[in-house]
């Protein structure tokens, strides 16, 4: 059983490109050209240079001594939070902006929920002088005001989306509609491993620099290049896909995905998509998603704006269904406590999304000599208001 995308754009039962004909030429152009462009030496040279000099890679792999002592195992944190703009998102936007330039596009569109991908897109658009339009749901614009200001300071146009439930799902719909209406000059930078083929594979490849570095860094620090456990949070799943990529076929590595249980998996207020979701189609991809018996897509809930997506990338649906990854769900409260623990034990305030991955450390039972890598996908600056309110700081 393989975990690479097949030539039809599927991971097992999931993936594909369920798009209306109005998007066919855009997707076809991308599908025909992305591998050739990404694999070219000239692209790789520029991509690697920007990851190093602009994003600040490689990010450190940090041996977290006090967390290790607390959990009785050997914990390493992959510090994606130290990237420029504060999360792994920049890896993908650098890759896609370079691709868009080679496709001759002048106009960039993106969706954003919490605003991290929007900021990362606005950032690379500023860097290359490209026109940038970010779609953001009305509720998220209110909840994430500082990120809206950042995008505007970076020169992006932020379009408030009033349709549907006014959150990430609807912002994505609106970005897709924009692309339908601008099929020639525009590239759509999707922020996660979701959407029609080739997006899930393309974004995974751009994020795979994370596992590439983990291999080298683990070799240096532990004398072997793989961990026993690899833990990452999954909303759409881009940081997890990047952290898993070079270990997908390596069965020595237990892949542990952390989803947002919200108020509890059975509470009805949750975003535990691969635990509760059923097969269906969202944003052009067949995957596991939250839906009712009429096939209407339901709005998930999580305290973390980056995890409340009703679907999950098709790779993750397949990893969960095939048993390659083990999925745990952490509640809002568990994530908050894990964020506090990481702050107090290691002096690192993680993003709320990342805190769900840290919370899962309570649910797995590695031995004292096992190596556990947690992908610390983002930093907690954007979540300070929530931490202050919920933790009574």
């Amino acid at each position: 059983m393989g975990f690479e995308v097949d030539d039809q754009g599927f991971y097992g039962d999931f993936g594909g490109a369920y798009i209306p004909e109005m998007l066919y030429s855009n997707i076809r152009e991308l599908e025909n050209r992305y591998l050739e462009i990404i694999r070219s030496d000239e692209f790789q040279t520029e991509f690697r240079q920007l990851l190093k000099d602009y994003a600040g890679r490689p990010t450190p792999l940090f041996r977290a001594e006090r967390l290790s002592a607390h959990f009785g195992t050997r914990i390493f944190l992959k510090r994606e939070d130290l990237n420029h703009t504060g999360a792994h998102k920049i890896n993908n936007t650098i890759g896609q902006i370079l691709l868009a330039r080679r496709l001759g596009k002048q106009r960039i569109i993106a969706e954003t929920g919490a605003g991290q991908h929007g900021v990362a897109t606005a950032t690379v658009c500023a860097l290359f002088g490209m026109h940038c339009i970010v779609y953001m749901g009305e509720l998220d614009v209110e909840r994430q005001a500082p990120n809206v200001k950042k995008m505007k300071m970076l020169g992006a146009e932020v379009v408030t989306v009033h349709s549907g439930n006014k959150t990430l799902k609807d912002a994505t719909n609106e970005a897709i509609r924009d692309w339908i209406n601008h099929p020639v000059d525009t590239h759509y930078i999707i922020g996660s491993v979701v959407g029609p083929h080739p997006y899930p594979d393309m974004v995974t490849r751009f994020q795979s620099v994370i596992s590439e570095e983990i291999r080298i860094q683990l070799q240096e620090k532990t004398g072997r290049n793989y961990p026993d456990y690899l833990v990452a949070c999954v909303g759409g799943g881009s940081n997890a896909a990047g952290a898993y990529y070079h270990y997908l076929e390596d069965k020595r590595v237990r892949l542990i995905s952390a989803e947002a249980a919200g108020l509890g998996v059975e509470s009805g207020m949750t975003a535990a998509t691969s635990l509760l979701g059923t097969s269906g189609i969202i944003h052009g991809s067949r995957t596991l998603l939250m839906q009712d018996d009429d096939g209407q897509i339901e709005e998930p809930y999580s305290i973390s704006a980056g995890l409340d997506y009703p679907g999950v990338g098709p790779l993750h649906a397949w990893l969960a269904k095939s048993g390659r990854a083990t999925v745990f769900a952490a509640t809002d409260e568990e994530a908050l406590q894990a964020a506090l623990l990481c702050s107090r034990k290691e002096g690192i305030i993680p993003a709320l999304e990342t805190a769900h991955a840290l919370a899962v450390l309570e649910k797995i039972t590695p031995g004292p000599d096992d190596v556990v890598v947690v992908n610390l996908s983002g930093r907690g600056d954007k979540d300070m208001e929530t931490y202050i309110n919920k933790l009574g700081i």
Partner: protein, 261 residues
């Protein structure tokens, strides 16, 4: 019995007017009364939209009507129940138009069985890729006698147009411009060039032009190059307007304006 869509194209000499409605809009019980009014006032065919939470290809007007319909309680199962027994009083062809996810949740086989049972002649599922239709569902559609009309756009290349036309049953849906529904309300020179190009290809299936057909002028322009046209957003907007007119009167006024009667 010949499929009503095929009979319509065979027997109609003039322009064909197809109208899109959203099931369960403006009120939950309006689906069948709208069909009756549209038939009485001279629409040739109706596309009944299955409301969906995430209508990617639709502009604001149809999105809003879908949201209202869902809030009204419309579901695919209920729609089939509403359509129970409408034949033969409704004798014009009827097409269901909707996104793939609700259809897949019902199951394609059940869906097509209920289409056949209620007298639905064709379906349009914009996000069902032609290749997947061909590989997985074409024989099933054929067995139930339900047509699947596929879409082409100004960016669809010639080989693909021929392939899609060959797969299309009933009619080929010519999307008038690179746009979501209701985004345009005029027809430009580049579109006329595209309509002429498709017309001159001599495809084996008749074409209907949709997206951006909003009034008599755009309707007549479209009809110069295709057998007829489909009006969606403009009609939804007209029946959604508040005021003293009854639903029947709104339909009558709208159709009269389009047909110049």
């Amino acid at each position: 019995m010949m499929n009503r869509i095929d009979r319509l194209f065979k027997e109609t000499k003039g322009e064909i007017l197809s109208v899109y409605i959203t099931a369960g809009y403006p009120e939950l019980g309006d689906t069948v009364p709208l069909l009756e009014a549209l038939q009485n006032h001279g629409a040739h065919m109706v596309e009944i939209g299955i409301p969906f939470s995430d209508p990617l290809a639709d502009g604001a007007v149809i999105q809003d009507s879908s949201q209202v319909a869902l809030r009204n309680g419309m579901k695919l199962d209920l729609l089939f129940k509403q359509l129970e027994g409408i034949r033969p009083a409704i004798h014009m062809p009827l097409v269901l138009m909707g996104y793939l996810n609700p259809v897949l949740q019902m199951g394609m086989d059940t869906f097509l069985g209920r289409c056949r049972h209620t007298g639905i002649d064709g379906v349009i599922i914009p996000d069902l890729p032609p290749a997947e239709y061909d590989a997985r569902y074409r024989e099933m559609f054929s067995a139930y006698g339900v047509h699947n009309s596929l879409l082409i756009t100004p960016h669809t290349d010639e080989n693909r147009i021929r392939r899609i036309a060959e797969l299309s049953g009933g009619f080929l849906y010519l999307v008038a411009d690179s746009s979501t529904t209701g985004a345009r309300n005029s027809i430009g020179d580049h579109q006329v060039e595209y309509f002429r190009r498709i017309h001159d290809m001599g495809l084996p299936v008749p074409g209907l032009i949709g997206f951006g057909i909003s009034n008599r002028e755009t309707f007549l322009t479209a009809c110069k190059f295709a057998r007829g046209a489909i009006i969606g957003s403009a009609f939804i907007r007209a029946i959604g307007e508040s005021g003293t007119l009854s639903l029947q009167q709104k339909v009558e006024m709208f159709i009269k304006e389009i047909r110049g009667a």
